[in-house]
Amino acid sequence: MKVFLKMVRLQFKMLLRNRALMISSLGLAVVSMLIFGFLFSNDTNQPLAVGLTDLDKSPASAQVTAALEKNQAIKVTTGDQAALVNDLKQGQYSAVVVLEPGFGSGLATANAHVQLYVDNTDIVGAARSRGTIGAIFDEVSKQSAGFKDVITVDEQQVTVRQQRQIDVLTPGMLGMTIMFANMFVGVALIGWRERGTLKRLSATPLKAWQLIGAQIVSQLALSLVQAALILVIAATVFNVQVETGWLPALGVLVLVGAFSIVSLGYVIGNFVEKQQAAQSTATLISLPMMFLGGSYFVVDPPTFLKPVVEILPLTHLNRALRQVMLNDAGLSSVLPDLGIMAAFGAVLLALSLRTFKWSR
């Protein structure tokens, strides 16, 4: 056991020192999330959909309403406050503006109040609303009071549970990270075999299962760390909802998913002779798997591709991760996916252990 733990620790150290692996696994996911999260989630050419309620009904508020309606950057729909906020929560508006009673008289006393409801899960939309609507009210202040700030905007944040592109993307990026972090385990193995490291180890009392077991455990540990990083980035930068209640299920999925991919990586490590060839093989498998497995978008494959898609462990990992993160599913409802990944991993690992070679 002491030997095993020592090996796990050192293998983990080697993984962390492998910069190429860190960049290819974590980096691709983070860059993808940045691109999809920031560039494509909000179409900034479209005017902002804004709901408006005038509770003041004064000439001044009518004037402001007209100013808002005239502005090209926003598309105003007027209506009842409760109905509009409800629609905001359904994702129909980026913001709802409420002109408080006493708005018109307040302009003279610098005590005019406006409520601005924004979606706090949509940072870009919320920022645009804040900026655009704030600028309009500044203009009104300027005209009515001459550069004095007479309007107070009270911001109300609501949480919208609509599925944005980033919400659907995040579980897929999680799955992709797990795949890239584990797919290349065989490349390292072949390197050690080529340099004679494995032969040297075979001249010690070390057993093959101790070496492979330690490598698998360190890979699983790395996968958990990377998954945690992806979730933290998703939650803090992109406001993706991550419930603490999901974490056990996500943890199990990450571990089983990583196990299935690492076993695939070992098969490559045992059946390919040269490190360079293994690198290409792993890349050739992982790139199609990344798309077919539905990392970037959920795929609906043509019939002839269905069996291929259904056997890929990444398909099941992504599917199960989306079930948990988008539909609040528990582990029991993703048992088929878990079972397929575990079986895939077990079969390939058994094959790898049987064909394991210390030297060429």
């Binding site: 020592k6 150290k13 080697m14 492998n18 050690w192 340099r195 010690t204 030297s359």
Partner: protein, 326 residues
């Protein structure tokens, strides 16, 4: 070619390793073709031969890294363990230390991390810090293996071979690709192993290394042992002729009739050169005497004179008809 059946000493408490009728066939090639020898405890035993002679294969079988051809008459016994029995290899690996031709450690880990990793595998191990000090690696303890020079890597490999304080140490070409200074340092380390009472088996294709280090040498060629003995024995047996090279000060020496030198006692052959002769002889002193006497008779002043004693290199050329490093 002449196949020398090396005498195998009876298995005694003095024998560290005993090999009989070892064969190893690769697809399409017989790498080891009936090798037998024994290594005594405390001895430095060299296996000498050109690349592809079967040295490393032989060594790897003895180390339990490779399985020999299954034959009932084959014996591979190391420290009393039957290496052919896979179940005894675990025990074997606790007891032996070895160094392979390749650098063979984790390049991503430092010197200390590698040594600590290997140390943790043995039921008993020497303190890593002590070995780092012994092999002058303290400055390099935190360096990754990949950043070390060839000589430094070789010192790490040697330190790694001694982690479990083995009584039998295997070194596969320990000085290949090292500069002369690094080579001498490794030689000193190997001699220190012998002084500590360990048995050392090494392969080399450097003759001077075998002569400088080994108590006994087995010369291998194309999978067989073609000669076995102490370096002195082998030279006496397979390369007894010495040579004298004499250069004269002036052309006066041409007055000496050629056959007068060839007929000198103990001289077997003369070869003319630009300024004199090379004399082949079985007795250096007698031939030298005769040469100087004859030169004086004819008034030919000798400008310089040198002698060459045969080495294992000559033994090898005489035995196999080829150069070692071919």
């Amino acid at each position: 070619m002449l196949q020398v059946q090396a005498p195998v000493e009876p298995h005694t408490q003095y024998t560290a390793i005993e090999i009989r009728n070892l064969h190893c066939t690769y697809p399409g090639k017989k790498a080891v073709d009936g090798v037998s020898f024994a290594v005594l405890k405390g001895e430095i035993f060299g296996i000498l031969g050109p690349n592809g002679a079967g040295k490393s294969t032989t060594l790897e079988i003895i180390e339990g890294l490779r399985t020999p051809d299954a034959r009932p008459d084959t014996t591979v016994s190391v420290d009393g363990l039957d290496v052919k029995d896979r179940r005894q290899r675990d025990e074997l690996h606790h007891r032996i230390g070895l160094q392979l031709q390749t650098s063979a450690l984790f390049e991503e880990l430092s010197v200390r991390e590698n040594l600590e990793m290997l140390a943790s595998l043995y039921r008993r191990s020497k303190p890593v810090e002590g070995l780092l000090k012994e092999f002058n690696l303290e400055d390099k303890a935190k360096s990754r293996i990949g950043t070390l020079s060839g000589g430094q890597q070789q010192r790490v490999a040697l330190a790694a071979a001694l982690l479990n304080d083995p009584q039998i140490v295997f070194l596969d070409e320990p000085t290949t690709a090292l500069d002369p200074q690094a080579r001498r340092n490794v030689w000193d380390s190997i001699r220190a192993l012998q002084q500590a009472g360990k048995t050392v088996i090494l392969t080399t294709h450097y003759m001077e290394e075998a002569e400088a280090l080994c108590d006994r040498v087995a010369i291998m060629d194309t999978g067989r042992i073609v000669a076995l003995g102490t370096p002195a024995q082998l030279i006496r047996q397979y390369a007894s002729e010495q040579t004298i090279t004499a250069n004269f000060a002036s052309p006066v020496y041409r007055n000496i009739p050629a056959n007068e030198l060839a007929n000198l006692p103990a001289v077997t052959r003369t070869v003319p050169t630009a300024n004199g002769y090379i004399l082949h002889t079985t007795n250096l002193a007698e031939a030298m005497n005769g040469l100087l006497h004859t030169a004086e008779q004819y008034g030919a002043a000798v400008a310089e004179i040198s002698t060459h004693s045969p080495t294992l290199e000559d033994v090898f050329i005489n035995l196999t008809g080829k150069m070692l490093r071919d």
